[in-house]
Amino acid sequence: MLEVTTINKWPHYRDRFVQLVIYLLVFLVSAVFAWILFDLARGGLTHLSWEFLIESPRDAGRAGGIGSVLVSTLLILLVALTAALPLAWTTAALLAEYVPTTSQFGVTVRFSLQVLAGVPSIVFGLFGNAFFSVYLGLGFSILSGGLTLACMLLPILVSTAEAGLRAVPQSYRLSAAALGMSRTATLFHLLLPVAAPTLAAGLLLGIGRAIAETAALLFTSGYVDRMPGSLLDSGRALALHIFDLSMNVPGGDTPAYASALVLVVLLLCINMLAMKLAYGLQRRKIMTT
């Protein structure tokens, strides 16, 4: 005898309900993102002009532009990359190509970098102030700010470069060895060129990190908003400029909006380019932070 089974409808309704909740929350997150961008654009677009980008700030930043601030930011970035890139890429090459993953040396270096990646930026600021500014006597300068940032960038530059090198197929290394190439030649002429897009993506991510940084620069590169004359001068980074305008300068909101807009647009472009390099070329995923 056939029995009529009633289908339990409950899981079906529950699925529908969960789906609705998820769509609503996702919509909420997207709306907030759009809200932030819209606010920045509305507050900053009217104030933004070519003059704003090239003039130096006057009257504590209420008038004038952000020319000298952009120059300082660029100099800090250059110092940071000059110091961090050679270290990071040699470390990555060693970790990926020369030592076994499980060796004590490799594990130690990797652990130390992993801890470094989690250190809060204000702690980097404290360290930079104590070590570069006071102990090495560099004072509040672009040099000490840049070197502090270099310490901060090391982990991300190493991990992206290591992932890029590891993603090069093993057969490349075997072919090179079969052709009698030395390991050094393999590294310079084969592995690094093949991994170049990921190295570039990591570099861009590092640049994004560096120009977004404020807390580490508060007590290392300082507040001075004049055009820097040398690397030993104090120079104000763009992110710090936004902080100072909004917290310490009454009536500084409009230029702060415009500066924030410049910073966000710059970062969106850099990060999108990095994603394009990292994903577009079917590399291994390196965007996890």
């Binding site: 932030i36 909006y257 965007m287």
Partner: protein
């Protein structure tokens, strides 16, 4: 030109030197934090950071508990909001989104991760704080700090949960579907348990980020040294305290700020060690 064995050995030593320097940066930072905080650690017992009457560093009373409670409350509040939002975002990308929406949404979250903390702080200061002020003055409050922190750690939770869910072997999901499980039954019964360690590791990483965040919180939290009694009370976090007082701190005061920096660093180190230990158990 690179053909001799000597060259290979030389390269290896150069690379080794670079790696050693990279690894030493970490020790250098710890060493300098210790050296700078030694004048205080040497003189007073650590218990005084909890039992002193108040935070008046110029007069020699160093009670850090208001800052600790501010830091913990703000971070926990942000986690409470960001965990459901982040996990649903990841579920949306992996299971629910139509293909033409999944990738753009993921890219958007990644771009959100790249927005600097000072911009979040500025937006909170000019938009959120006035809104909260209308609801309940003064506006700059624990609630504002929680909301801004939520936005900042949401991408971390979303992206780590995404990786963890992606790493669940697809035959698990196929089997669940073949057994006739509903979609939520599959997610709740199969995907979450299989991805749990990855998700927990991501949440711990996000907690570390929330505890260490400085600028955004500094700009919206009001920075009054007190134990908050409600969501609308202003607070000051440990990291914000360092940023606010470092500029004029001298002698023991400066040393105490380095102690709080050391404390922050140790907290985050413990959290990241936990995260990596838990994260190792997941399906790779």
């Amino acid at each position: 030109m690179f053909q001799s064995v000597q060259n290979d050995a030389l390269t290896c030593w150069v690379l080794r030197a670079g790696a050693v320097i990279s690894a030493l940066v970490m020790l250098l930072i710890l060493a300098f934090l210790l050296i700078e905080s030694w004048p205080v650690l040497d003189q007073i017992t650590p218990a005084r950071f909890f039992t002193d009457t108040s935070w008046h560093p110029i007069e020699g009373t160093y009670n850090l508990t208001p800052m600790l409670s501010g830091t913990l409350l703000a971070s926990m509040g942000a986690l409470l909001l960001a965990i459901p939002l982040g996990i649903t975002s990841a579920l949306f990308i992996v299971f629910y989104a139509p293909t033409h929406l999944a990738l753009p949404y993921k890219r958007m979250i990644e771009l959100l991760a790249g927005i600097p903390s000072v911009v979040f702080g500025f937006w909170g200061l000019t938009t959120l704080v006035p809104l909260i002020n209308q609801l309940h003055p003064p506006g700059a409050s624990l609630l504002a700090a929680i909301l801004v922190l939520t936005l900042m750690i949401l991408p971390t939770i979303t992206l780590t949960t995404y990786s963890a869910l992606k790493a669940v072997p697809s035959e698990f999901l196929h089997n669940a579907a073949a057994l006739g499980l509903s979609r939520w039954g599959m997610i709740h019964g199969i995907a979450f348990p299989a991805a749990r360690s990855g998700i927990v590791a991501g949440v711990i990483l996000a907690a570390g980020r929330a505890i260490g965040e400085t600028m955004a919180v500094l700009m919206v939290a009001g920075n009054v040294v007190q134990h908050p009694e409600g969501l609308f009370d202003p607070i000051r976090t440990l990291a914000a305290n360092i940023a606010l007082e470092m500029a004029y701190a001298m002698g023991d005061h400066r040393a105490v700020l380095f102690v709080s920096g050391l404390l922050l660093m140790l907290l985050v180190m413990v959290l990241s060690a936990m995260a990596s230990k838990i994260g190792k158990n997941q399906y790779a």
